[in-house]
Symmetry: C2
Subunit: 199 residues, 2 copies
């Protein structure tokens, strides 16, 4: 395999510049192998102290989708109905238990998080959201289209799928291939004059 | 430009599978054009209601770096000293002001966020963290190496660079090219049996 120094224009288009958030999906199926492949990419980029607090629930059976879709905002249900797979992205609120395994040279951080729930949830949510960003770009990397959504009853989803209270859902991501009228006109991005400063 | 259906192995290596978090940088400079190019990629992937709450401060002057580095945890200072550029990634706590511009068909969301500061900060932090994930992969896409860190005095950085209180720093990201001994041995990732569930 050649070593690349930067992504070519077509690859940048696939991930960033031409990629679109998809709201209506075709019947083209998504295989479990593809879903595993997303995670084999998304698991690598960095998190705080390598804590990796994101958990993924891939919902792709008819029963699973019915259990999930009833908790979505009404305006979001048809989107997920059309998607072959909906991923629930969640925070493992007890992620610190794995710190001796994933960050052995700083294992004392486990106790810091054990003793400070507010910091644990805040820091964990930040890293889990970073990983949600990686997940969306990993899905695009393997050729799937993603439609992330935050409009759903989080407590309802958590009670439905994570009844022991350990995982807290953060977002759902519809996954598949574009159907008819898959997206709106592209919405504007903020000017760099607004988003970027220099020092 | 050809249209790609998925990233090739070399591109996946650059972004995900071979990429490494960098702690020691070479003297190779990073240009302002490269920094603008990161943002021209990172600005595109999705955020909640297209709110785009992340703000970036690129610190690359000697004076700017001195002002920043004194607020980093001691163990992180040498890393940022060696980096030609350190990006401060921050939440614009008043991001909702732009909703009529960036999400015109749902402009009423501005008032929802105006009236609910806790929801505004929570939702904004989630989207800003998503964007931080996009930012790290965008830096890798243009051939830079990133070293994100959360070990710093956030209140100190905010008072130093964002004295009006509107922006809240979330992470700093060292940017450049690898120097000598640029990274540790790779730390383990959680097993898919831990991170992924199916329904």
């Amino acid at each position: 395999m050649d070593t690349l120094s930067s992504l070519d224009a077509a690859s940048r288009a696939l991930l960033f510049t031409d990629a679109r958030t998809t709201s209506n999906f075709s019947a083209t199926p998504v295989t479990d192998e593809e879903l595993k492949e997303i995670w084999e990419l998304a698991k690598w980029p960095p998190t705080q102290a390598n804590t990796q607090p994101l958990r993924v629930l891939y919902v792709r059976t008819a029963d699973g989708k019915a259990r999930l879709i009833k908790h979505l905002n009404e305006g979001n249900r048809a989107k997920s109905e059309s998607a072959p797979v909906v991923a629930v992205l969640a925070l493992d609120t007890q992620f610190h238990e794995f710190i001796p395994e994933v960050f052995p040279h700083g294992a004392g951080l486990k106790d810091v998080f054990e003793g400070n729930t507010a910091k644990r949830i805040s820091d964990g949510t930040f890293s889990a959201a970073l990983q949600a960003g990686y997940f969306i770009l990993a899905a695009r990397s393997i050729g799937l289209f993603a439609g992330p959504m935050t409009g759903f009853d989080k407590a309802g989803v958590d009670a439905e799928f994570f009844p022991d209270g350990r995982f807290r859902s953060l977002a759902v991501v519809n996954l598949g291939h574009p159907g008819e009228n898959p997206w709106r006109d592209r919405l504007p991005r903020l000017s760099p004059d607004t988003a970027v400063q220099w020092a």
